[in-house]
């Protein structure tokens, strides 16, 4: 029988996470807790309902069906919510949404196959992301095994914290692995993400044993890791451990704010700065100086 797993959502028409037109499968749960996380709903595997206040017209259909007696303002009574999803079904504005749900693997497969023609013509396929895509090894293994046989390209985005041997079979089926490297300094890494970077560096080195291409990604956050020194040290590490790997530097963004709002979680981080275009180009220059090719999926 097909396993089931915790899924945030499936995003068809993803064009920046690998080659071609892809469907990104966002898997829930994450061992890290980055202060700037853009997908806060995926930080654990709890089913949850979000409330997009900007879409809400206050019709009250949600309150009518709620078995817990929660009103329109879900966030005021969030502790009572059991994420049954009844309000999601009746909301005419799609202001109530399931942000994490348990899904059958075969249902995931059915949905990703819908767009097979687009994958074929564009050289695209499926990208696993999260949360942390490697946190549900069995689920991932089933999905990747099936998709491998279907012949679609597969990529994965990972934070690097996972049990390598448990996901080795899945990773071996990948065409491209994106692994994050958020800080070279373990103490700083721990301060911003809740864990040191030792495991990440260790897993990254092991990627050399796999057939996939590797792109090491740095989310560049001004005030955290977007300084010359960190970028240079990161690039030097990548060059040393994975000579063929490329690196992609992505500027910090605040698109996740809307999700914090939907979940009623405050998000105030004025200390995080978005590097300018010029600063980003400068940092990419440093990566190149260290002998690493810069990847770009825009």
């Amino acid at each position: 029988m097909a396993p089931s797993g915790y899924v945030m959502n499936l995003q068809p028409f993803s064009v920046n996470d690998g080659d071609g037109i892809r469907t990104t499968v966002f898997l829930a749960g994450c061992p890290l807790h980055c202060a700037w996380c853009a997908n806060p709903e995926g930080c654990n595997q709890t089913r949850k309902v979000g409330w997009h206040i900007r879409k809400c017209i206050g019709c009250g259909e949600c309150a009518k069906v709620c078995p817990q007696g929660i009103g329109i303002d879900l966030n005021a009574e969030r502790e009572k919510c059991i994420a049954c999803g009844k309000c999601v079904e009746v909301c005419p504005q799609k202001a109530r949404v399931l942000m994490v749900q348990k899904m059958d693997a075969d249902e995931v497969l059915k949905q990703v196959q819908t767009h097979r023609l687009f994958y074929s013509y564009s050289g695209g396929g499926i990208t696993f992301s999260g949360g942390e895509a490697c946190l549900q090894p069995e689920f991932l293994n089933y999905l990747t095994e099936q998709i491998y046989d279907m012949g679609y390209s597969m990529d994965i985005e990972t934070c690097g914290v996972f049990d390598f041997e448990a996901v080795r079979p899945s990773l071996s089926r990948m065409d491209l692995i994106f692994m994050d490297l958020k800080h070279m300094d373990s103490a700083a890494h721990k301060r911003w993400t809740g864990a040191g970077n030792e495991r990440i560096l260790e897993n990254m080195a092991k990627l050399a044993e796999l057939p996939a291409e590797v792109v090491v990604r740095i989310p560049c956050i001004g005030g955290v890791n977007a300084d010359e020194d960190n970028i240079r040290r990161s690039a030097a590490f990548v060059h040393r451990t994975l000579p063929k790997a490329r690196m992609e530097l992505l500027p910090y963004h605040e698109f996740g704010k809307i999700k914090y709002e939907a979940l009623g979680i405050p998000y105030e981080h004025p200390e995080f700065l978005r590097p300018s275009k010029e600063e980003m180009e400068h940092l990419r220059g440093i990566v190149r100086e260290e002998g690493v090719e810069v990847a770009d999926f825009r």
Binding site: Q11, P12, F13, V15, P92, F118
Partner: protein, 790 residues
Amino acid sequence: MAITERVEKIRQNYVNTKPHISYERAWAWTKSFQRTEGQAHIIRTAQAFKDTCEELSVNIWEGELVVGTSGEFRKCAILTPEFGWLWINEEMDTFPERGQDPYDVTPEQAKFIRENIFPYWKGKSVEEAFLARISEDTKKIGVDTGFLDTDSKWRNGIGEISADYIDVLLPKGYGGIKAEALDYMAKLNEAIPEDKKKIDFYKSMVFIADGMIALGRRYSAKAAEMAKAEADPKRKAELEEIADICARIPENPPKTFREAIQFVWFVQLGGIIAENPLAWNPGRFDQYMYPYYKADEEAGRIDYDTALELVECLWLKYSEWAWTISKNTASFFAGYTNFENLTVGGTKVDGTDATNTISYMAIQATRECMTHQPTLSCRIHPDCPPEFMEAVTELVSTGCGFPAIHGDRTGYQMLSNLGYTPKDARDWNNCGCVVPHSRKTFEWTSAASISFAAALEFALNEGKSRLSGKQVSLPEKDPKTFASYEEIVEAWKKQFKYLVKQGVISLVTAQEIHREIGHRPFMSACNEYCMKNGADLVDGGAKYSIGPVFTGVGLSVTANSLAVIKKLVYEDKVCMLSDIIDAINANWEGYEDLRAKALACPKYGNDIDYVDSIARQLADFYYDEVTSYNDLYGNHFVTAFMGISNYLPTGKVLGATPEGRHACDPINEGVSPYTGTDTSTCLAALRSAAKMEHEKHSGGTLLNLRLNHDLVATKRGRANLGAMLQSYFALGGFHVQFNTISNEVLKDAQAHPEKYRSLLVRVAGYSAQFTNLSKEMQDSIMARNAHEAF
């Protein structure tokens, strides 16, 4: 290469000048008809053409390399009172100030026209004949209603012809056409009735050829005269060259690329003078122009940049002519668009790739000139070279709305289904906006606009218009008494059948009139088989006579509405049908909660079978019903889901609809999702649209989508767009066209039109200058949903 100073100057004049009405053509035509009373109509028409060619003022404008204009103004709009003049008489004084497509016309001109031209045509025009022959019932539902409209077939010249440059015009020249006609004539016997009719036809061919030859010679003389007076030696030399070319062209077949360009324009101009036509298509330009370019290039007579400048001069000529249309027609065909459809790419008749240097040159000319004409279409076949796809998607990324992108195989299949031979079907070009067409064909490609949503309104309102309360269609029972969803679908079918029937009656009536007084000797001269058969197009002379095309409008609105009724009333039972009827009668006022529920129902354009299958059911019924009728020539009628801008006027006459739309709001064009309701992804919208079995709707299908500009800003993004196109075509889709300009830019253009005179945007099946569109048209373009990448 950047655009040359010459082209830029012509371009600036084009974007900054309002078209001016010229009555020269109408006056010459009228005087000729006064002289030929009593003769066969085909002869009179051909004679009028020749007389007009000999009488029109000859104007060569500053900097021009390609010459020939339809009157005394550079941006010229002409009149064809023989088709219809009532509307011109009524509307002429408002031409300069009207919101959509204004023309300049002076009070003196108007006076002259009313005193000297219109009186002759009283009782003689196609329009009057049509209105005299149709019944009150037909008039009530099918004349200026927005429910069913056929007036482009009885108020204006027809057009909808693709000139046969390959087998007729370029190899023969008008001298050759004349000689051929005389040859045929010599073999006929006037004492045999069939021969007698053919003799008239060949005589008319001679008049047409003589007219065209005269036109060329007059331009030659004018250029020579201007050269003599010209002080600037460079311009003097140019004028001398023009004089030299026009002395031979279009009488003789062109020998060089430059001559061929002038030849093509003279043919275009001839068609304009003859009919002031809609959709007078240059056809597969890259196929017939490339041999001239190749020969010149090999002989060292031309380089790429020189050829490009000539092509750009031609593009501006296509754009300087403005189609003269009524206020009502302008709301359907907004933006001075005359649909001179020019096709590049695709396959040759042997199935191999057809792209060549001229294919790319055409795309470059459109990108550089940003003219609204020609209506550039590209054929994309499965093995399309990546460079061509990149050129196409790169043009898309400029936001100009060009080119219209077509699936080669679907176009082929559409013609095959109409009985074309494989060779002719593979040689298809585009006509008007999105009609697969051929240079061997006579077809009314945009004959009737039929509203799916009007049929629903009649079904749910006892056959009355919801806005006017008038009984315009068949009676129906009180909508609150429908017992099932199926019963409502049946009521829609009954009303729709009635619309189709009235459309057929209107068009067959128009065909009869055209067969009497709508002879088309000029267009027949551009058609290989008319010459062979000795018969005009209206007498069935063409190799393929195809039945008139209906174009369906409001498919998605109607499917979405039926889905709402099915789900809310009969499945979820959250409301009664009477609630919905009350709500739309109140234009949703006081029914906001119900409207929210209606809006939340599945919408076409999101790859949801629940509603897409309803759309398909409607489309299939449409096909079965329309094709069950035959036209005057015994050919079955044809279906299309085209666009044009008819989603605005057809929406304006409708009350609110069950899927949440308010009264008077636009409906939808072609197979496009309703504005703003394709909220999933672009891929889902393409998949929904592809479910409509395009290949059997041989009159063409149209899909408009908006794309976020970021998606096509990089080469990588454009490659993905190319993949989306190929996927859509593999799914059986026929045409898709994109708007990629952000609403921020469009809003700024609305506020500061002076800064954006040359901004081209996609309307539907064609592009127009944004600032030439009425405010409501601009708003509706902004409201289309932009698909973003994630």
